[in-house]
Symmetry: C2
Amino acid sequence: MRPLRADARRNRERILEAAKSVFADQGADAQIDDVARRAKVGVGTVYRHFPTKDALLDALVRQRFDQITQLADAALERDDAWDAFRDLVWRSAELNALDRGFCDAIAHHDQSAVAVECGLTGRVAELMARAQADGTMRADASTEDIGVMMVGLGSVVRTIPAPAAWRRYVTLMLDGLRAS
Amino acid sequence: MRPLRADARRNRERILEAAKSVFADQGADAQIDDVARRAKVGVGTVYRHFPTKDALLDALVRQRFDQITQLADAALERDDAWDAFRDLVWRSAELNALDRGFCDAIAHHDQSAVAVECGLTGRVAELMARAQADGTMRADASTEDIGVMMVGLGSVVRTIPAPAAWRRYVTLMLDGLRAS
DNA sequence: CACCATATGGAGCCGCGGTTCCGCTTGTAA
DNA sequence: TTACAAGCGGAACCGCGGCTCCATATGGTG
């Protein structure tokens, strides 16, 4: 298990980069051959680095979750809990809207395990607890609601192309989560 | 274009019946061979009646929409507009929850054209107008919101098996649609 | 250098599932 | 009862796309 050879390390990066843009554009059913072509690499090389298409997809999903976790960290710095929560949701939704592959992933498989692993769930829980403490979020809301919301969001983004659709979805959901 | 032969008419029914339960159980990616087996019919016969898998799926989707349209008719008889709307949404959601194939259909392709054709959209619009008139539904809500909601619902039902998940989704969405 | 473990490319394999094809059966009308 | 158009069954076809395999190339080490 020694370190990767230099060219291998370089290729791994190129593959991830290529996969990111191919899957973002065309969704999770884009072909590995396209990724390989875009990375200027043979299919075999892709499979050397990621044993399976799913493994590659998972790696990308994990990257996105990490990115959103960083946004959650920033949100935790803010004073107004509801505003922080709301903006976090909007920012994540915007990221989704640019990445069909990620939307496919969250719309088709429950990703809550990944969200927990990378620490996102914990941070969101804290944010929600604060908003509930100052009475701006409905008392019965939980992180599971967020999972449910994201599943739906993925599908809306994928199915109805107009940005107005997912924006409306987020608006309604946030109003549903607000204290009445 | 004379009437179908008696046995053909019978088979057509069996195929629809079989397809309904196979796709409801296994989702839209169930195989035509399974449908044929369940209908006790050869694959060729399925293709004689429905030129394409998609055509078969479409026929089933249309049936479900017609069924929901009937529910909407019943809802229009009721006095309290919000209650009528809310219950209609709950009943449709319950139908979805029993039919993975339908969920796949609404989660993957925008079905608003079908909803309009079969008269569902018109009826829902009337119901919403009434609820808005007596101030129980948010003034900016439209039938497009319902489309967006159903897309998300399909995905939630498919992706998170526990009924609690889609029930929660509907709860949040309805609260989002209520006047604040 | 020389060597070899590591890495690469991409033609080809393989299973899957939608669809077609055609020899046979059956309902029906005369 | 016969004739034939309409209908049927299901083996086989075929394109697609994930994945494998191996002859070849290359980075790093002594």
